[in-house]
């Protein structure tokens, strides 16, 4: 059984794909997942990757930075290959027009034809899903809600990036690049797998209730009946003028028990607050405070190694805001090293998916 992680820093899509193929020449890949800088011509890269791995199912997306065992990279392509001993089944579907439609059921119907089982009946210990979605579509919540309604299988993933240009992001499948789309992958691994979610925040025990919102546009107008910016600044005990400098270190969390599902503020628009994911009216959100991301991840990985004995592969969907914080603290090298001894790929996302759409989190799929 082989799961192998590689990367390329070649210049063109064709050179990058050829380089990755060369580095994976010792494995007959059944499934390739890759994450690529937005510097590449997306269509050319999608085509080149499928051409190089013509007998494999190939998916991927653009990023805001890449992760591979031991390193955080820029302007690269990272890829993970799985052979047929690692994966029994791979099913891929593309959900197009995600901004205006929700065609997850069509893809799931196709998965049902291929597996011979209803999505709702699939064994959650045998199957796992991956979702890669246009990171500028604002469609993640409705896609995840639909997926979560139709199946109990865990779908984990990330929102594609474009190196902070915020222009266009792409997902890749079967040799094509798509925008305004999501790629869904249904895997049946032959090895045990685990899903990990970590966000490196502590709860400040201050609660803000969203009392007036525009859910679709991810805007909060009021918390606790006050202008959102004022209520947020009050919770932080700082003047409103200083509050936006605290966004990264003090996002809000929808608490599920002790576990925050992070909602990150993006900017003040007058007295309104724009977030990176939606907030429903009546939601109670706790003020969070950032902790040491590297230390937190070291502890998570240590615990998982003890729990599983060995980790044969890991895919890390890692929020761009966490990457920016690591860069601010000059910790990117240390963060990369946490995964030095584990075959790992990942990318800096525009949002993470696990049960719903979340921010400032690492959602990770781990293979034993």
């Amino acid at each position: 059984m082989t799961i192998k992680a590689v990367y390329s820093t070649e210049i063109t899509p064709e050179e990058s794909a050829a380089d990755l193929s060369s580095k994976l020449s010792d494995i007959t890949a059944k499934f390739i997942i890759f994450f690529a800088s937005s510097k590449f011509d997306s269509g050319a890269l999608a085509s080149a990757m499928q051409k190089q791995f013509d007998s494999a199912s190939v998916v991927g997306c653009t990023t805001a930075g890449e992760i591979v065992s031991g390193k955080m990279l820029k302007d690269s392509v990272v890829a993970m290959a799985f052979d047929s001993q690692a994966l029994e089944e791979v099913n891929i579907g593309v959900v197009e027009n995600v901004k205006t439609e929700n065609r997850v059921p069509e893809v799931f119907a196709d998965f049902e034809r291929k597996t011979g089982q209803k999505m709702i009946d699939l064994n959650i210990k045998k199957y796992v899903g991956i979702i890669l979605v246009d990171g500028l579509s604002l469609a993640e919540e409705k896609l995840m809600d639909k997926i979560g309604a139709l199946t109990d299988i865990t779908f984990i993933g990330g929102s594609a990036g474009d190196d902070l240009k915020y222009k266009t992001t792409y997902v890749f499948a079967g040799g094509r690049a798509y925008t305004n789309a999501a790629v869904l992958v249904l895997l049946k691994p032959r090895v045990e797998f685990d899903v990990v979610k970590t966000q490196s925040f502590c709860d400040k025990n201050k609660v803000l209730e969203a009392t007036r919102v525009n859910e679709a546009e991810r805007i909060v107008y009021e918390f606790d009946g006050l202008p959102a910016s004022e209520a947020y600044a009050n919770a932080l005990e700082v003047p409103v003028e200083e509050a936006d400098s605290k966004f990264m270190s003090h996002p809000l969390g929808l608490m599920v028990g002790e576990e925050p599902y992070v909602r990150s503020p993006q900017q003040f628009q007058g007295s309104d607050m724009l977030f990176y994911c939606n907030i429903k009216e009546g939601m109670e959100l706790n003020l969070l405070e950032s902790m040491d991301i590297v230390q937190d991840m070291r502890e998570v990985m240590k615990a998982k190694k003890i729990e599983h004995g060995k980790i044969s592969g890991l895919i890390n969907f890692h929020c761009i805001l966490r990457t920016l914080e690591l860069e601010q603290r000059s910790q990117t090298e240390d963060y990369g090293k946490v995964f030095e001894d584990v075959p790992t790929i990942g990318f800096s996302t525009y949002g993470e998916e696990y049960l719903g759409h979340i921010n400032q989190t690492s959602t990770m799929l781990l293979f034993k």
């Binding site: 809600d145 109990d152 599902y261 049960l355 719903g356």
Partner: protein, 66 residues
């Protein structure tokens, strides 16, 4: 009348999970992410029509009969 929301939420979790604790837990999380926190409702909670309508809508989407 009171307590209808809690009863409906319990039915959603029970029917969806069929006794599987992992699915019960993720179903509760999905409800919270959709804005309905089961912990906020007890047998004494008022039967707010708007919340009941929302819970019915979620139940239908999840394929649960309440």
């Amino acid at each position: 009348m009171a307590g209808q929301i809690k009863r409906f939420l319990d039915q959603i979790v029970e029917q969806r999970s069929q006794g599987d604790n992992t699915i019960a837990s993720t179903t509760r999380t999905k409800l919270i992410l959709r804005g309905i926190n089961p912990r906020n409702y007890t047998n004494d909670s008022a039967d707010d029509p708007e919340t009941i309508a929302e819970v019915r809508k979620i139940a239908q989407e999840l394929g649960v009969t309440i």
